[in-house]
Symmetry: C2
Subunit: 454 residues, 2 copies
């Protein structure tokens, strides 16, 4: 390892500069005006792969391009498919960023930028692990395919299509995804389960035009009020989701996991409270907090559109209002089935006098991973070597639909090993990535590849 | 009247051009970027008054200027104070306008523009009545003061201050406000009562930063969900407002009005349904629709701010969310008292785990007017002469706080006579004013001034 160590140390600054260059590209996949930036971020990744010595190219799609690279010269060795994404979340509310989201800035050992953690930082550390091995040893310990998408924050339709219809081109023995985190900087973790998701929009129509609340207030349907009624009926203060049938297919978790959730030996609950800056958890207080974020379905409202939301006031009763909502789903709950249940529940609880429709947004299955698989052992061993302790097996509340798809389509185990920290401000202002975690990540991935190819 | 008639007919096109010129100025008082336009609209009015032969000037305030003009040469005659406003509502959603809001366009006998009805059209017809009398007769049948404000859609703080502290300068025997409507083009109306208003903002804080709903969903407070709970608890599907004490001070209306509301001989309810394009009224179904829009308190949500409302999706749990709300208040309910009740009720119904504050926006008293006052008789007579039938006495659901203030400060009757129609799209896209109503308005106001000065 010493030559590899030397290479990492000598190239530390350049590794960070390569990451910064990528972070400067505002590749927000949901905003049409950033389409060019998204493509530029893809080309940046192709260029990185080519410089390492990979055959790499863009794969065009109906949406943003996929980045594909391969190095398949390790005869007789297994093949690992590595996944990452180069697109990022929108940045609003922009005024809360302490440094501009696309000017990566280093403060207190962290690099601040949209995408620093999710997922450019975590993808770049893999590229740097590959580069180090190729530069020092002239080869990799196993065959590697790299697939980096640009629609992870926008539903991932293109990669879904590609994996479903072109999976022959992705043949492998295991998949490695670096888009998850650790409970703290000294507790390495592997993910044993992921929640799925469906995003949906509830659209409510009242009168045929916006109305003056002085003239019509008292007899007019108010879609914003109707949405409040619908949302409060779908989920009460107790956090229970009133969608008939939702909980029916939920299987009980293994007793060993339930025990971990109940006892929370690592005090992860306390860390979450601290991170949120609040004194009490909200929601289903009859379940342990860890079970609620890892293994229970949730229903959240993300935004309500309609009426007047500018400065000042305008006492209008809007004709139309929409709520952007999502449900996080334990692996037992399938997005399509849950959407049907949601749709029916919304219609059932909608107040009289308004028309309601529910639109399906993106959806993704959850996943359960077996910690006993040899590839998971190779990852656990690598984490132990770098962090000095055995990893814990957590679940992750956030959904990575592609993980479930790889698992079901390629029929191989999926290793979810990531280095993000709870205070990385994912999807929020001031997203950051720990520089120490970045380099520990490089070292862990090198060992993981070595273990997996041994 | 024939010379007056001739003048009106000969100047018809110019009257409309003068109105269009005013409408082209986007005097949106709530948007700081339109401050210059607001001033320009004020100057336009000063110029109009001066051309008629009035002494006219801008009165500077802390906000937008007041327009003041006077003609006080009718010795021994009473003095009428005429009020109007030159500011307009915002125009969003702009995409629903069939012609640009500040390019006045004539279609089917209507002039379409923001402010066409509320209140530039209605104020301009008074100026044209004054012009006609001055041009033809060289004088007015009574003394006239004109006061036109620029903050009617923005809380009206400046005129409130002026009327409270400078009312010596506004001495008069009656006030005339042309900012109301008629139930249909052939049913003239005078307003016997107005609802007051308070606007408020309910602000909910959850975690100290925006959160990823995958990571924290299930244990995190969601201010948007909390707002839905609060709003649905403040007003249920039955339209009853759950603010303890709100209904306590509500006095029963006179039996004659109650009978009108119950019987609705003019089928105003049907017209409202048609206007709204819906099949059933929403709200307190145990009260007649007319009572609900004219004499019952209402609670409405006008917009909900927070989270992600752009295109695409972002599954964020926002740290903060706000609801813009208002209550319409029958004359018995005072804004300051109701705000206290609202504030307490919000705190009482807020769910656990969030911090809630309520901010008071603008407020205004309601008003009851006595139809027996001689000045009201002069108005009723004018309407009968032009429309060929006795006016009905309605209440108006929309609030005109300044009417209540004139009444209480100057201690004179307030005539609310307007010519807007229910389909004028006040505060909504495609606001318009009937050109026929505009000219009937000119003729009615001429007769009203003659009757009042006789």
């Amino acid at each position: 390892m010493s030559q590899l160590e030397t290479y990492i140390t000598e190239n530390e600054q350049r590794f960070l500069e390569d990451l910064k260059g990528w972070l400067r590209i505002p590749s927000i996949s949901t905003l049409p005006e950033h389409a060019k930036d998204v493509r530029q971020a893809a080309e940046y990744a192709v260029n990185q792969l080519q410089r390492i010595g990979f055959d790499a190219t863009l794969i065009e799609t109906k949406g943003h391009p996929l980045v594909y690279g391969e190095w398949l010269k390790a005869e007789g060795k297994p093949t690992l498919l590595i996944y990452g994404h180069y697109d990022v979340q929108p940045v609003d509310p922009i005024e809360l960023w302490e440094s501009p989201p696309f000017e990566p800035t280093i403060r207190n050992g962290n690099i601040y930028s949209r995408g620093a953690s999710d997922d450019k930082g975590q993808t770049m550390l893999i590229l740097k692990a590959l580069e180090t091995l190729m530069a020092v040893e002239g080869k990799l310990p196993l065959n590697v395919r790299v697939l980096i998408e640009g629609e992870e924050e926008a539903g991932g339709a293109s990669i879904e299509h590609y994996v479903k219809f072109e999976h022959e081109k992705l043949k492998c023995d295991a998949v490695f995804i670096c888009d998850t985190g650790m409970p703290s900087a000294d507790i390495p973790a592997l993910v044993a389960g992921l929640r799925g998701i469906i995003a949906a929009e509830i659209e409510v129509h009242g009168a045929r035009r916006d109305l003056h609340s002085g003239v019509y207030g008292g007899v007019a349907p108010n879609p914003l009020h109707a949405l409040s009624l619908i949302i409060s009926r779908l989920k009460g203060e107790d956090g229970h989701i009133n969608i008939p049938g939702l909980y029916d297919k939920l299987r009980p978790a293994p007793e060993v996991e339930k025990e971990f959730w109940r006892n929370d030996p690592l005090h992860l609950g306390e860390s979450m409270l601290k991170e949120m800056g609040i004194k009490q958890f909200v929601g289903e207080n009859n379940y342990p907090p860890l079970e609620r974020v890892w293994a229970r379905p949730t229903f959240e409202v993300h935004g309500i559109v309609g009426g007047f939301t500018g400065e000042g006031s305008k006492t209008v009763i809007p004709a139309v209002a929409k709520a952007k909502v999502s449900l996080r789903l334990p692996p037992d709950l399938k997005p399509d089935e849950v959407f049907e249940l949601l749709q029916k529940a919304v219609k059932d609880v909608a107040p009289a006098g308004v028309d309601v429709t529910v639109h399906m947004g993106h959806g993704g299955d959850g996943l359960v991973v077996n910690p006993e698989a040899p590839i998971m052992q190779a990852a656990a061993e690598a984490l132990k070597e770098v962090y000095g302790k055995e990893p814990i097996y957590t679940r992750e509340g956030g959904s990575i639909p592609i993980a479930a798809l790889f698992n079901s389509t390629l029929n191989v185990p999926v290793v979810l090993m990531g280095f993000a920290l709870p205070d990385d401000n994912l999807h929020a202002p001031n997203e950051k990535y720990s520089i120490d975690q970045f380099f520990k990540g490089v070292r862990t991935v090198i060992r993981f590849l070595q273990n997996a190819g041994a």
